[in-house]
Symmetry: C2
Subunit: 152 residues, 2 copies
């Protein structure tokens, strides 16, 4: 990860569909050089993929919430099982496995409040390993789409 790699990563985070030529032009190197750098970054696993950013409203997901969940007993089998269960639900965008007061945080996005309630009652409340959960509605969200590499 030298200076060139960092800049490639930064530019592809902000716009993954710009052409390799444009990337090369911004970096001041030949397109073939740029292409090889991108391939190397991908081989190494630094670049994991390219994803379109879709407006949740366009996916009928106007209501978003964060649900913190506690499970017991807190062992590997229970954690892995619940993680797999949660990740497989269509309402769930992200599952975080945590330490601290909460064991999991679920980022969910659904059509409306009724569906959120149904998710909590029909999906979560039925699981025996869940000993408690707490829901916070998301009103706004700001994302840093181009996190930079931090210095060591």
């Amino acid at each position: 990860m030298d200076e060139l790699d960092s800049e490639i990563v930064r530019l592809l985070q902000s716009d993954a569909r710009q052409s390799n030529r444009e990337l090369a032009r911004k970096l001041g190197v030949a397109p073939s050089t740029c292409l090889e750098r991108v391939r190397a970054l991908t081989r190494r696993g630094a670049i994991r993929g390219y994803h379109a950013d879709i407006d949740p409203a366009a996916l009928n997901r106007a209501v978003q919430a964060l649900v913190s969940v506690q499970v017991r007993p807190l062992n590997r089998a229970v954690i892995d099982t619940f993680k797999g269960f949660a990740a497989g639900l269509p309402e769930v965008l992200h599952v975080f496995v945590l330490s601290g007061g909460d064991d999991f945080l679920l980022h969910v996005a659904v059509q409306d409040l009724d569906r959120l309630h149904a998710f909590l009652v029909d999906r979560l409340s039925k699981r025996a390993e869940i000993t408690g959960f707490r829901t916070s509605m998301i009103f706004q969200q700001v994302s840093n789409t181009t996190p930079v590499a931090l210095p060591s």
Copy 2:
């Protein structure tokens, strides 16, 4: 958002760099048709952009945490100010503005535990509007990269 649009969105979520021709082939339409659909989705704001997915470790961000924050007084000026402040910090990946017990949730990613501690002490503790915060370490994260459109 008909069936074709939904499928385009789904495919671009899973791989934003596949060629328009490949997209068209998978959908069984002409490339020119597919291109026009993608442009219309972008014009309407359904497609908001395309971003490379980068391994946090490659950006020197091996340590990730979720920090829930309470601020007072809870009015628009304080909320907007804190939101802007938090979103501008290089350690912060996402800012969620919430209802419920917490007012904000910050998703932060830093080099190591020392830097996390420094972030909490030097950045957050200095803010007068913050009346409390709580940090949970992130051990694992599963993301649904291709959320589907939900039925109405």
